[in-house]
Amino acid sequence: MPGFYIEAMTATDSRGFDPGGYFAFDLARGAVHTRHGERVLVLASDVLGPLVSTAVRQGDLTAVRMLGKRIGEDAQRSLGGDVKGATPEAVITHASGMLSLLGWGTLQLERWGQALVLVLEGAPSLDNERLGLAALLGGLLTSLGGRDIACVPVDGARFVIVHPSIAEAVWSWSKDGKDLASVIARLAPEAA
C-alpha cells in the first residue's frame, strides 16, 4: 500500500551542519558575501512575499527556483561528499541547516510508502498556494539530486517530491482538496 506513513527523518546527523562564518559582512564596501564568495542580500520577508506572489501570477518562478538551487549547492558543499550515497538524515541535516541560516524555516523529510515528502516549517508566507516555497524546494532538491525534481504543495507545510512530468496532475489533486494520504495513494511505481 503506497500511502502509509513510514518515518520522518529530521536533521539529527552526527556530522552536524556548521553555520559558523557563513556570512561575511563587508561594511567598508557595503556588501554581504557567503563563505563561498557569493554576494547576497538580506531582505525583509514581507518584501519578498509580494515579489514571489507576482511571479506566481505571471507563471514564472525561475528566480525562486534558482535561489533554491543555490541553497542546494551550499548544502551539498556543507555535506562535503556524495549526496546520493549519503544517508537521508545527513542530507536533510545540511539542507535544513542552510534553509534555517537563510531564514526559510526548518526542513524535515518523511517517507510515505515509496513517496518522499518534505516538511518545511516556520517558512515565511510568500503566496497563498505556497507555490513559491514549492519552487524553492524544487530547486534545492534539483541541486541535491542532480536532476530535475518538482515539489508539489499538499497538506499544510508538506510538499510531495515527484517527477516534474506528473507535478501538474498531483497539484490538481491537491487543489481538489485531496489530503496527503489520498494523493500518495493515487501514485504507483512506474511500470518497467
Binding site: 503506497p2 513510514i6 549526496v83 546520493k84 550515497g85 549519503a86 544517508t87 537521508p88 545527513a90 542530507v91 517517507r111 515509496q114 513517496a115 518522499l116 532538491l141 541535491l144 539530486g145 536532476r147 525534481i149 517530491i161 515527484v162 517527477h163 506528473i166 496532475a169 498531483v170 493515487r186 501514485l187 504507483a188 511505481p189 512506474e190
Partner: protein
C-alpha cells in the same frame, strides 16, 4: 545375626533404596531436559514458531490458527494425566514419584508451557533438515527486515519513479 543374614538384609535395603530412586529419575528426565536446555529459549522458540510456521510448512500440515497459541498446553496436560509407561516391576506406585518440591531447583520446569513432547515438533517446523540451536532457529523464523536502510539517492529515485495509477 549371622553374616549371611546381615548381607541379605543389606541387599534388601539397597534394592528398596534403588526402587525409591529409579522412578524419580525416570519422571524428571523430560522436565530436566527441557529446563537444562535453557527453559527461556525453549519458551521463546515455542512462542515464535506458531506465528512463523505457516511460512515454512505447508498449510495442510499445520493446526488451524485458532489452535496455535499455545498448542503445548493440552498436549502437556494429556501427557501428565495419561498413565505412565508400564513401570518395571520394581517401580513403586506413581504417588511416590518425585513431587516437584523434592526436585533440585535446576530441574524444576520454570513454566508448565515447556513440555518435552511439543518441542521436537516445533523445532521441526523451523528447521526440518537438521537440529538447529534455539537461537538460530528463532533467527531463521524471523521475517527479513522489509524496510532496509537506503541512501538518499535510492529513496529519491523511488519517489521520482511514482506515476499516477491507471
Amino acid at each position: 545375626m549371622t553374616a549371611a543374614k546381615v548381607q541379605k538384609l543389606r541387599a534388601l535395603l539397597e534394592r528398596v533404596e534403588r526402587r525409591r530412586k529409579e522412578p524419580r529419575l525416570v519422571s524428571v528426565t523430560g522436565g530436566a531436559q527441557v529446563a537444562s536446555a535453557n527453559t527461556n529459549e525453549t519458551l521463546r522458540t515455542l512462542e515464535v514458531v506458531p506465528a512463523q510456521a505457516p511460512l515454512l510448512a505447508p498449510p495442510s500440515s499445520l493446526p488451524p490458527p485458532s489452535s496455535m497459541p499455545p498448542p503445548a498446553l493440552p498436549a502437556l496436560d494429556a501427557t501428565l494425566r495419561s498413565p505412565p509407561p508400564p513401570p518395571p516391576s520394581s517401580m513403586p506406585p506413581p504417588a511416590r514419584r518425585t513431587p516437584s518440591s523434592t526436585l533440585p531447583p535446576e530441574v524444576v520446569p520454570a513454566s508448565p508451557r515447556a513440555p518435552t513432547e511439543v518441542l521436537p515438533a516445533a523445532q521441526a517446523r523451523i528447521a526440518p533438515a537438521s537440529p538447529v540451536p534455539f537461537d538460530s532457529a528463532v533467527r531463521v523464523a524471523t521475517p527479513p527486515r522489509i524496510d532496509a536502510p537506503k541512501t538518499f539517492g535510492e529513496l529519491l529515485e523511488q519517489s521520482l519513479a511514482l506515476r499516477p495509477r491507471a
